[in-house]
């Protein structure tokens, strides 16, 4: 009886292995496992066996039934798709044709860069401040320690609306307007459009600046270096090499220009950096005591630093754009690249 069962399993498995189609598999299933199948018949004979062998034989035949069922199911599963494959193939589509839907638009590169820069300062607890683009001479110049008929005015060619109203030449007037309204501490960044009477490959009469200001008790030049280094390494990468060098702005003292090592040539000198190996990125400085006095802060109590940068310049470096005017031509072929 045990041999019969083993023999049956061997034969069934041999047949299964050589079966190639769904029909054959189904036939094997009927032949062995069907209501009148060979295994079923054998199972019924267990009653004739010796009583002490019956449980063992019962378990054995159940095990064989289970094993065969699984094998047949597996084989059927493997075969099933093959059966419909041909028919499905008839429904083949050209997957290389473009997908459907409106193509997403792009955010202007100036907005992208401006946003990225502001984010760095927001992480340091700065908030965004805005001010008018058509500005009083007072806020744009005088309150920033640039009196009328001062040579420092030559640094910024100005569009005039009236004798005392100008298109702001920098976003610095915002710092005056904020400090007039708010007591220290002040931590702001002010992005926005500025205007200068200038137009060529590297100048457009309108461009974007971000001005920043951190005023509190005990802010030092060392803090200026720390914060701006952090900022530039966030934007240009941790390994960016910087240099701080003395410069002049009427509303800061000491003043600094901050250069990064040329990201094009790595400092060996190229056309972009004018062979110097350095790229001028930021203007900054400690807020001049005169400015504090103008807004009613006591320079003996309070100190702070301000900085400003041109967004276009950074975008041009970031994306290797050589003509600043492209930003304002809004050519679709340009916009679509960002």
């Amino acid at each position: 009886m045990r041999e019969d069962l083993a023999e049956l399993q061997r034969k069934a498995e041999a047949e299964l292995n050589s079966a190639g189609s769904e029909e054959e598999l189904l036939a094997i299933r009927t032949k062995y496992l069907g209501r009148k199948g060979l295994l079923t018949l054998l199972f019924r004979k267990i009653g004739n066996a010796a009583p002490d062998e019956r449980p063992l034989l019962g378990r054995l035949s159940n095990e064989i039934k289970e094993a065969l069922s699984v094998k047949i199911e597996n084989a059927l599963e493997k075969l099933a798709p093959q059966g419909k494959y041909g028919a499905l193939l008839q429904e083949k589509i050209d997957v290389t044709l473009p997908g459907r839907g409106v193509r997403h638009g792009r955010i202007h590169p100036i907005s992208q860069v401006s946003q990225e820069i502001c984010e760095v300062f927001l992480r340091l607890g700065f908030s965004v401040a805005k001010g008018p683009e058509v500005e009083l001479d007072y806020y744009n110049f005088e309150a920033l320690n640039i009196p009328k008929d001062h040579p420092a005015r030559d640094m910024q060619d100005t569009f005039y609306v009236e004798d005392n109203i100008v298109l702001r030449t920098h976003t610095s007037p915002v710092q005056i307007r904020i400090m007039e309204k708010q007591r220290p501490p002040v931590r702001i960044v002010s992005p926005g459009k500025v205007y200068r009477h200038d137009s060529d490959v590297s100048h457009t009469p309108m461009f974007h600046q971000i001005e920043g200001l951190w005023v509190d008790k005990g802010i030092t030049f060392s803090d200026l270096k720390g914060v701006l280094t952090y900022f530039l390494q966030q934007v240009f990468g941790e390994d960016t090499v910087l240099r701080f060098r003395p410069s002049f702005f009427p509303f800061t003292e000491p003043s600094a220009e901050i250069d990064i090592q040329c990201i094009i040539c790595g400092g060996t000198g190229c056309r972009v950096c004018g062979q110097s190996g350095w790229l001028e990125i930021l203007g900054a400085g400690m807020v001049d005591p005169e400015v504090f006095k103008t807004v009613g802060y006591d320079p003996e109590e309070i100190s702070g630093f301000a900085f400003g940068l041109g967004v276009e310049r950074i975008a041009m470096l970031k994306y290797s754009i050589s003509d600043i005017r492209l930003f304002y031509e809004n050519d679709r072929r340009f916009l679509e690249q960002f």
């Binding site: 058509v134 100190s303 304002y328």
Partner: protein
């Protein structure tokens, strides 16, 4: 400013290589923008020695020389007589170029071979002597390049001098910085000269009628000058820094201006009527021909240097033709003065004349350096033009410029500002190296008196800047101030800006940025009425071009302009948006009203995927959908699109105002065909403009979750036959007005007119969706509610129900 290294070395020893010096200057605040090598105008001229001289067999005036460059010997035919065997001379080798564009070739001169040319100073362009061959000093190595051997090469630095550093607008000023940076000593030129018996004061006089504008004026008479070319060393220096050599007198005044930073002027004394100087304002409308040959009409407040009768110079800016030094000038009156910087700047601006002199005066020259510069000039004129210096310099200095003295400097404050400890000893050393007088007080602080040429220093902070500038910014450590725990509140405007960008780009719209200024004619192009607010332009007094002469009052013109530019580049399909300010002029003297707007435009095909969609043209509803999505994304509710706008640039039948809570916040519509035509646009475009400031006030980020309904919906469709003018939204409003509790939603799903619909009518089909929150509705319940609403709508609008007409 251009600075010649050769010239610089006259006053300070420079051991650094030019590149290193440039770096050091830059790091001390004198930004070197370029470093250029300058050299003589010859190549391939080397040091050679004459081995033998024989007479030329074929020519009496020529001789045959054998010269050596150490390695090789060359035969050279020479015409000069001043040479002897053993002389060391310049040899222009075969292939050499010399000034005048000559190239030296191997040649046969009257039958004798000549391999090169021996040169005079003049031929090499390095001196005036044209008479004979240049005899070189001993100690030069044979074969060495002559330019190297004689140190004829120069390096010229272009230094950007910031407006505060007028003291650096001179070679000595730069030399002083170099000395301070490198720890070398500054060597000032020694000024010594002999004065003649004759007294300047007996010959001329100076009257300053306007001492506020001219606090100090000095004059000196120098007689018997011989006007001629300047010596080579001076020309070399002037030309290196971009000044053209004119004649010795003019060149000397320029030289001293570059040397000390004090502009000077020499008048031909012959032409000074009454032989005296009067400093006064011009007469209104007075005419004057300046040295550049241009006729100037003067204003009453223009400060003029005059003789007893007429103006002879525009004070501090430019001399006049009428008193110019010429070849036959014999006696000069030398002016050295201090003018009021503001006054010079105003005049220079008004006249549109910026000269080397005005540039220095308006930034402030050293008021105490005026006489020294005059003396230095007199010395050089005596030395180089043979002048006799008359005794005594007239010095009118009625309005003394008060020098800044004893600025208190606290060492503690230095630390406080910089965040780094600079030792007291170093502070003192730095300040002294810059020419300051430093005195210690009882409390340990300092009293610092800056030199008079440092017009930028008057406060403690100015001193601190000087200290750190020389100490070096690199010497300051980096620190991060503590960021307070409470960071500022979320900025709604910035959040809105970013949300809008995400929503609009997600729908295929790209952001553009146009100039804020446009052309005034745009008001006519857009068809604005005479009283339209859009005509209240903020006008720019000094625009770059007429096209950019007023500030925009709407973003639409810029978008249309972008569309035109793209069309010109062959791109007719656009979805764009812009966020920016518009400007409405207010009363004179007041700032304009600035409003932030957001605007968009669509033109061309609806989808780029031609394969899927063919050429479906975009229209009003594309953009409206975009705007609806925008409101939806910002969760601004109760938005109404109401037809009948008063926006003249829009198609009157395909446009509407956009309202929230009955407040108009923008418009949307197809651009008026007339506007398109005027802008030479061939395709339709749809535009919208919205009030950003309003959105900033009204958008919300608050979300209240509502339970998802558990019971099913029942729908009923019905088509109303209505007049063609009946707007869909009116029907929907009426439905909403019924306040039917079971009605969840009503939406238009079809609008049809034409075949099968009576003339002047249309069919508007609505789908009504019914649902209850607490039970499954029975058909009877739904029918009852539905029929009631439909009948009410029909009653209110006079609509017939399609399919029920009969």
């Amino acid at each position: 400013m251009l600075v010649s290294l050769r010239w610089l070395r006259d006053y300070v020893d420079v051991e650094l290589k030019p590149g290193e010096l440039a770096d050091r200057l830059t790091m001390a605040g004198l930004e070197v923008e370029s470093v250029d090598e300058a050299g003589p105008e010859f190549t391939n001229v080397v040091v050679a020695k004459i081995l033998s001289i024989k007479s030329h067999p074929g020519a009496d005036k020529l001789s045959l020389c054998e010269v050596t460059t150490g390695d090789e010997n060359y035969p050279v035919v020479c015409g000069a007589k001043n040479i002897n065997v053993g002389d060391v001379v310049p040899l222009a080798q075969v292939g050499a170029t010399i000034p005048g564009g000559y190239t030296i070739k191997s040649s046969i001169i009257r039958g004798e071979k000549s391999e090169g040319m021996l040169c005079s100073e003049d031929e090499l362009g390095i001196g005036e002597d044209a008479a004979g061959i240049m005899i070189l000093p001993g100690g030069l190595s044979l074969g060495e390049d002559l330019a190297d051997a004689l140190d004829l090469k120069d390096t010229v630095f272009d230094i950007g001098i910031t407006p505060n550093r007028s003291d650096c607008l001179s070679v000595i000023g730069i030399a002083r910085e170099v000395a301070a940076i490198t720890g070398k000593k500054l060597k000032l030129p020694e000024i010594v000269f002999t004065e003649a018996e004759e007294n300047t004061k007996d010959i001329t006089s100076v009257d300053i009628l306007n001492p506020n504008l001219c606090p100090r004026y000095t004059a000196r008479i120098i007689k018997d000058v011989r006007v001629g070319p300047s010596p080579h060393w001076m020309r070399l220096r002037l030309e290196a820094v971009g000044l053209r050599a004119i004649n010795n007198i003019v060149d000397i005044t320029n030289f001293v201006m570059m040397e000390f930073g004090q502009p000077l002027h020499a008048f031909d004394f012959r032409f000074l009527e009454e032989g005296r100087i009067v400093v006064r304002g011009a007469q209104e409308g007075e005419e004057f021909v300046s040295l550049d040959g241009k006729e100037r009409i003067l204003k009453a407040d223009t400060l003029m240097i005059c003789d007893g009768v007429k103006p002879v110079a525009i004070g501090g800016i430019m001399g006049g033709m009428n008193s110019e030094v010429t070849d036959d000038t014999g006696t000069v009156l030398l002016e050295s003065a201090y003018f009021n910087p503001t006054s010079i700047r105003k005049t220079s601006k008004w006249l549109g004349m910026s000269t080397d002199a005005s540039f220095r005066f308006e930034r402030g020259v050293d008021p105490e350096g005026v006489v020294r510069a005059s003396n230095r000039t007199a010395q050089l004129i005596a030395d180089l033009a043979g002048g006799k210096i008359c005794r005594n310099c007239i010095d009118q200095y009625s309005r003394k410029i008060k020098p800044v003295e004893n600025i208190p400097l606290r060492v503690k404050k230095v630390d406080e500002v910089l965040g780094v400890k600079v030792k007291a000893g170093e502070i003192k050393k730095i300040l002294k190296s810059l020419g300051m007088v430093v005195n210690k007080t009882e409390d340990g602080s300092y009293l610092v008196t800056p030199p008079t040429f440092r017009v930028d220093i008057s406060r403690e902070i100015d001193l601190i800047e000087e200290i750190i500038r020389i100490h070096g910014y690199d010497g300051v450590p980096m620190s991060l101030p503590a960021v307070p725990e409470r960071t500022d509140i979320k900025n709604r405007e910035k959040t809105l800006e970013e949300k809008i960008r995400v929503i609009l780009t997600g729908q295929g719209y790209s952001e553009v940025i146009n100039y804020s200024f446009i052309m005034p004619e745009s008001a006519n192009i857009l068809g604005l009425k005479e009283d339209d607010e859009g005509r209240k332009f903020v006008m720019i007094k000094n625009p770059l071009t007429e096209d950019q002469s007023v500030m925009r009052t709407s973003l639409v013109y810029g978008l249309l302009d972008t569309m035109r530019k793209n069309a010109n580049a062959g791109c007719f399909d656009l979805r764009i948006f812009e966020k920016g300010k518009i400007f409405i002029a207010q009363k004179e003297g007041e700032l304009p009203l600035e409003k932030e707007k957001i605007a968009g435009l669509i033109t061309g095909i609806r989808y780029d995927d031609l394969w899927h969609w063919k050429e479906l043209l975009s229209d009003f509803y594309d953009l409206k959908g975009c705007v609806e999505n925008l409101f939806d994304g910002l969760m601004v509710r109760d938005v109404k699109f109401k037809s009948g706008t008063d926006v003249p640039l829009l198609h009157p039948g395909k446009s509407c105002g956009i309202f929230v809570d009955d407040k108009k916040i923008g418009f949307i519509g197809e651009v008026h065909p007339g506007v398109l035509e005027k802008m030479d646009l061939k395709r339709n475009a749809v535009v919208f403009e919205l009030d950003f400031d309003f959105l900033a006030m009204h958008y919300t980020e608050e979300i209240f979750y509502r339970e998802i309904p558990r019971f099913p919906i029942s729908s009923r469709d019905v088509a109303f036959l209505v007049g063609k003018d009946m707007e869909g939204e009116r029907i929907l409003d009426l439905v909403v007005g019924e306040s039917e509790e079971l009605l969840e939603k009503a939406a238009i799903f079809d609008v049809y007119y034409g075949k099968g619909i009576p003339e002047g009518m249309k069919s508007t089909a609505l789908r009504f969706t019914y649902r209850s929150s607490d039970r499954t509705l029975t058909d009877d319940e739904v029918d009852e509610a539905h029929n009631r609403i439909v009948e009410r709508i029909a009653g209110l609008t006079g609509a017939r129900i399609r399919g029920k007409e009969d």
